[in-house]
Subunit: 343 residues, 2 copies
């Protein structure tokens, strides 16, 4: 690098630093500036110590402008057509005069470093719209880390005036429970097929859904999709009732033919209306805030424990003793606790 | 108290102490002595410090004789007929030449001090049988405490030679997930009725069940029960497949008419055969051991945190700040962590 290059690089770095200044970002975000929102999220994803303090300041300033969006979780296995569905849905919402943000959580990157959400770039039509913001989540080492970043991104998007915030996951890991704990409405996308509607979906996710949407209901698929819808409708009636009194809806939809995209939107609206009237909308948000307070504490305590240097070497050993029946789970736990507490 | 009374009282106390001696208890338990088993469980339920060490010794000695039973979870709301069903099932199992132990978990006593399992004493016919052992769980202050006592009771019952161990819960709280994590087979008892089959059952429990049993299928109820069975059967096929490849079974049964009690037994047997062949039986047990090791650590860390004197006064305050949107959940958590860590 010659002197001029170095100078340029330093200037660029400084510019980046400046753009990470929370005051500057705040006014940009409140103006709805996409670049500021994007930099804000990058800032809160940063693991640098100096960035963390700025990120905290930014979130605190955004908090009072947050809370007004409808937060929607969207899940479904790869191949179900999440991206095309979200693209159609997003365009519809924008045409209705709303602003929509899409945050995608990619649990695969935790383990493999690879991405199953590489297809994010495929949302070509949505991403060019002024009132749409699409952001794949940064990979986090822990689910707790991803959760925090996503929750904080929601706050920033809300401060930037987005009316709908979609949180997208792939329905195969633990991230669905996490997403369910940070959204108002949870949608499960499924394919109609010969008994393989739920291949790959984790048990328990179905009972979380506020709406089951059978996708790709076009052409030859339509009849199959309608049959599946009927079956799921019957099944849903056998589920225990929700506390919020909402009866989960089943829909067939086609992003290709723009079929029932509007109905999906209306379903979310009637959910919001109903739960705002009976108070469960606000109550759910409060419960979620409380949940994340205690969940974060739990996550921190556990992370501190399992990253303790004194334990690294013995954990596997104790686990083995427990699995082989040499000591009970409880004795194993006590043993590790004692080491952790220097006893 | 005169001198003679005092002497008698001291002798009685000594006798009780002796009977709580782990060596004495161990030989009794291994002989299958009911009194020794009962005292053993009382010992591990004791919160006295000197008893705790003895209890640990006893469990450690019993561990190598444990693991050979079939552990079955039974859940269902009050009124579904759990006690009568278990009584019929228990008698059948005993007639087949097996020994059965019933451990009942009573989550209501955590909060109210009262008991919804007061009907335990109603298992008159089962409790008099030599090869049956019925024990309501001691109330615990925390779910973690109840879990530990139940898991340890299982170890003692297995050392005493019981072939089947039933863990009973009421299906309305968090204890089902806990029980599901300590049994091989999980049964959900339900009533057939006009849409109220699952009234009171928590969402998610249905997807845990290895068998759904529609009880009181006698007299006028039989037709309704059969219809409900068909509906649930259809619903189950829509659930995501289990990792162990077991397809949950649906049965109608009547304890009154002894109808399908044998079929319930056969269902459990075929589950055990199938999962032992494909390895998931043993694998599930190992996963459970590991789960309880880490769950106990989490429980201990959380209990220590929330019982910290420094925090008692501020927790409610921080919670309020979070719920009202003054600070984020994450900032709230950090604040509490700092106080906890004397920072």
């Amino acid at each position: 690098m010659n002197e001029e290059q170095l100078k340029k690089w330093k200037a660029k770095r400084q510019k980046r630093r400046d753009s990470f200044n929370s005051d500057g970002l705040l006014s940009g975000i409140l103006r709805g500036d996409l670049q500021a929102l994007s930099s804000g999220i990058t800032l809160l994803e940063s693991n640098k110590k100096e960035d963390k303090a700025e990120a905290q300041k930014l979130i605190n300033s955004c908090l009072k402008y947050s809370g007004k969006s409808i937060r929607v979780g969207v899940t479904g296995v790869p191949g179900v057509g999440k991206s095309t569905f979200i693209e159609s849905f997003g365009q519809f919402v924008v045409e209705k005069g709303f602003k929509i943000a899409v945050l995608a959580i990619d649990p695969s990157s935790e383990k493999s470093g690879g991405s199953i959400l590489g297809d994010k770039t495929r949302m070509n039509q949505l991403s060019v719209l002024e009132n749409a913001f699409i952001r794949p989540s940064a990979a986090g080492k822990s689910l707790g880390g991803v959760a925090r970043k996503t929750r904080e991104s929601i706050i920033l998007c809300e401060a930037a005036g987005y009316d709908f915030i979609l949180i997208e996951t792939v329905g195969v890991g633990q991230s669905e429970t996490m997403v369910n704990s940070m959204v108002d409405f949870f949608m499960l996308l499924m394919l109609a097929g010969a008994g393989d509607e739920l291949q790959g979906i984790k048990r328990g996710i179905m009972e979380m859904a506020d709406a089951l949407i059978i996708t790709k209901a076009d052409g030859d698929n339509l009849i199959k999709a309608r049959r599946a819808k009927k079956e799921y409708e019957n099944a849903i009636h056998l589920f225990p009732p929700n506390e919020n009194e909402w009866i989960p809806k089943t829909l067939v939809a086609s992003a290709l033919e723009n079929y029932n995209i509007e109905k999906t939107f209306e379903t979310i609206q009637s959910f919001v209306n109903q739960t705002k009237v009976n108070g469960s909308f606000t109550n759910n948000r409060k419960q979620q805030d409380k949940y994340w307070l205690h969940e974060t504490i739990a996550d921190t305590l556990m992370t501190n424990f399992y990253s303790s240097e004194r334990l690294v070497e013995v954990i596997a050993e104790v686990e083995q003793d427990v699995i082989s029946g040499k000591i009970s789970s409880f004795e194993g736990a006590e043993k590790l606790m004692k080491i952790y507490n220097h006893e």
